[in-house]
């Protein structure tokens, strides 16, 4: 466990002692998400999104298992089996709409979680592996979501499968064989459906396993915090339970209200009407667009329009893969020793520019590709790569950062963190008043 003052599990009843001596599972849970995990006391509400992502993973797995009991993975029957779920299965409409919107909300909370990590430098040493495992989860989520979107076998399912597996055919020589191997044929059909269904059922459990590794790796250095300053002693932390379970609990309720509002009152708001038309390989929709959470990447793909040495399509596909893969190198690209963006004035401006940039990319990915939209997405794509590969290394070398508080409890006492937590039951030690570290 991370800190020496972390409380050890003490069984309270004879029964739990009996269990603990034979299988220390209660001990493991206590140390992972119970009173035995000390967490910095100054976490703000952006730190709630990791737990929320876990909640949405569970919602997806539970509703998905129920849907799989009624769903029929066949090119002839899939569309009607989804409608059978919507119309004839008891509460089937609830399971299906929850699963459909649950995917969107899983991505919403994951994106907030990722951008929180980007702003507060959560990817920096010693949490590089936490960050990289998180990216692995994100990649698995994308694969799962894409295959799940194909399963209802509507028009967008079918043509989305065509377009996305078509990425691979951009690669010379191996491209087409790889695409045919993935689809199990020349076009999406029965073989595609059954393998996508099989993998769509498998991958969430792989995600759950990587989530365990993600949390395990996180518990070695412990959670980061808004100041980015390392935990020094016990007064900097509070036990996860009951303090953060209470905070996560009420916030999860508030966020689930938002989820319920969309699921019950605007369930098709985030979807596309064309997916209520059964798949038809002979009729191409006017605009093929992926689900909203892929739109920024779709814009990157489409913004390469000129054959320059390589095919434009290959440039687009390479850039799209690179846009995610580069995040794996972030811990070594950003060399600044200061973690938190709050103490990095120059970084902070570029960070917000990146947020706007990704939103613009999302808009451009969904819009009809007129020359203006293409031009906007080209500029936005260029900024995306400039930000991570050029600006970030330069900023981290030249930036003058602000003085850091000498400890977490000091920043709390001086009200520097907005979501400051109270001091715990232990008397606060001498938190040196004006000792402030300046880091360049």
């Amino acid at each position: 466990m991370s800190f020496s003052w972390a409380k050890a599990y003490e069984p309270k009843t004879g029964f739990t002692r009996w269990i603990d001596e034979r299988l220390p599972l209660p001990r493991l849970v206590y140390g992972a998400i119970g009173g035995g995990y000390p967490v910095p006391r100054n976490l703000n509400y952006f730190w709630n999104f990791g737990v929320l992502a876990g909640i949405f993973l569970m919602i997806q797995i539970i509703t998905g298992i129920v849907l799989a009991m009624h769903y029929f993975a066949s090119a002839e029957g899939a569309f009607n089996s989804v409608e059978h779920i919507m119309r004839n299965v008891n509460a089937g409409w609830l399971m299906r709409y929850t699963h459909m919107n649950g995917a969107s909300f899983f991505f919403i909370v994951t994106y907030i979680h990722i951008f929180r990590g980007l702003y507060y430098g959560s990817y920096k040493a010693p949490r590089e592996l936490v960050w990289m495992l998180g990216l692995v989860i994100y990649l698995l989520m994308m694969a799962t979501a894409f295959m799940g979107y194909v399963l209802p076998w509507g028009q967008m399912s079918y043509w989305g499968a065509q377009v996305i597996t078509g990425f691979f055919s951009a690669f010379p020589v191996i491209g087409d064989p790889v695409r045919i191997w993935l689809l199990g044929g020349y076009v999406p059909d029965q073989a595609t459906m059954t393998r996508f269904f099989s993998l769509h059922y498998l991958l969430p459990f792989v995600i759950a396993a990587v989530v365990i590794l993600h949390i395990w790796a996180l518990h070695i250095p412990g959670s980061s915090n808004p100041t980015g300053v390392d935990v020094k002693d016990e007064q900097d932390t509070l036990p996860f339970h009951p303090f953060y379970t209470a905070k996560d609990g009420w916030f999860a309720g508030a966020f689930l209200i938002l989820f319920a509002l969309v699921t019950y009152f605007a369930p098709n708001f985030l979807g596309h009407p064309d997916n209520y038309i059964p798949a038809n390989g002979l009729s191409t929709p006017a605009h093929i667009v992926p689900e909203w959470y892929f739109l920024p990447f779709y814009a990157i793909l489409k913004s390469f329009t000129v054959d320059f040495i390589l095919d434009a399509k290959l440039w687009g596909v390479l850039a799209m893969f690179a846009s995610i893969l580069l995040l794996f190198f972030l811990p070594w690209i950003d060399k600044s020793p200061v973690r938190s963006g709050s103490y990095r004035p120059m970084f902070k401006r570029f960070f917000w520019l990146l947020v706007v940039d990704v939103i613009v990319l999302g808009w451009a990915g969904g819009a009809t590709p007129t020359p203006t939209v293409v031009a906007v997405s080209q500029i936005a794509t260029a900024y995306y790569f400039l930000h991570f590969l050029v600006i970030l290394p330069l900023v981290s070398s030249f930036e003058r950062t602000l003085p850091l508080p000498s400890s977490i409890s000091e920043s709390v006492l001086h009200g520097e963190a907005e979501e400051s937590a109270p001091l715990g039951t232990t008397p606060a030690g001498p938190a040196g008043g004006s000792r402030a570290a300046t880091v360049n």
């Binding site: 260029a382 590969l389 030690g429």
Partner: protein, 307 residues
């Protein structure tokens, strides 16, 4: 090393993007996109208010019955309703006997086999059947409809941008093609068997105007059957066919949101109580709390202890 490689990879992508950008812009300047007929003449759906709108919307059973009558007497000749069963009509307020009669009297019969010879035959529909398809297959449908394929209407209000308002607008939107359109875009003049309708994406569609005269349907409830009324009613009916559980979903949603509101408020109060009790403890025991510091100073002063 990572940074150096990254730097050049980044510059590579940006360089290709710059070339793409300039080629794109110069293309646009040399061949600006010409205005299209669709861009100039396509109209967005008219607004339509239905009882099922809004977060607490419920279906108006009488309107759904009228809409069903329009479907049965007009639309059903060409459009199927393959995902809806006769038994589902109970939601419109028909009783069991009425549903049996509707099914048995339905103009199109259900494909079946002759129990004696095994030859293909048809039989009368029963409540458990879904609405029979008007054509045996797509080829038959196209042959009978000038090579156009009338789509199944079960999900139509969810499968079109604009939903019920689009359906209503399309049904009431037929008109003569404007003179300006024919003058400026001769190619967009409706071809043989096509009909001009500005609410349709390509402006010309194969479906002839289905609702043409007031009183085309005589409503059982005596409502005057204007074209506008019939279009509204059938749009409302098609909202129901696409989303039969809408009212139940709204009711369940209200209950869930109220439950979550209570749970969240109680959760928040528990959170505040928990964290402020820790804060109170700090006030009493915390050495750095200014009040406590002042107290200890004055106590020290009184006891004339230094330091």
């Amino acid at each position: 090393m990572v940074r150096v490689i990254g730097f050049f990879v980044g510059l590579g992508f940006v360089g290709v993007l710059l070339i793409s950008f300039f080629v794109n812009v110069s293309d646009y300047i040399s061949n600006p996109t010409e205005p299209s007929a669709e861009h100039e003449f396509h109209k967005h759906a008219k607004s339509l208010a239905l009882a099922s709108d809004g977060p607490l919307g419920k279906f108006d059973e009488r309107q759904l019955q009228r809409g069903f009558q329009v479907y049965a007497e007009v639309c059903a000749a060409c459009h199927g309703l393959g995902l809806v069963a006769f038994r589902d009509l109970a939601a419109l307020g028909y009783n069991e006997a009425e549903i049996k009669k509707i099914a048995a009297d339905w103009k199109i019969q259900v494909p079946s086999v002759n129990p004696d010879t095994g030859e293909a035959a048809t039989r009368k529909a029963v409540p458990a059947d879904t609405f029979p398809q008007p054509f045996a297959n797509e080829i038959a449908a196209r042959a009978a409809n000038n090579n156009a394929f009338p789509p199944d209407l079960s999900l139509i209000t969810k499968a079109r941008e604009g939903g019920a308002a689009y359906t209503y607008s399309l049904l009431t939107g037929y008109q003569r093609p404007p003179a300006k359109l024919i003058k400026e875009f001769p190619a967009s003049k409706p071809g043989p068997g096509l009909h001009y309708n500005p609410y349709f994406a390509t402006l010309n569609l194969a479906m002839p105007p289905p609702l043409t005269t007031n009183g085309q349907v005589s409503y059982a409830d005596g409502t005057p059957a204007t074209v506008d009324q019939m279009a509204k009613d059938v749009a409302a009916f098609l909202v129901w066919t696409a989303e039969p559980n809408l009212a139940r979903r709204h009711a369940a949603g209200l209950a869930v949101v109220i439950f979550l509101l209570f749970a969240t408020v109680f959760g928040y109060l528990a959170y505040r109580e928990l964290w402020s009790s820790a804060k109170r403890q700090v006030r009493i025991t915390g050495a750095l709390e200014p009040k406590n510091q002042a107290k200890s100073r004055s106590a020290k002063d009184k006891a004339s202890i230094k330091g």
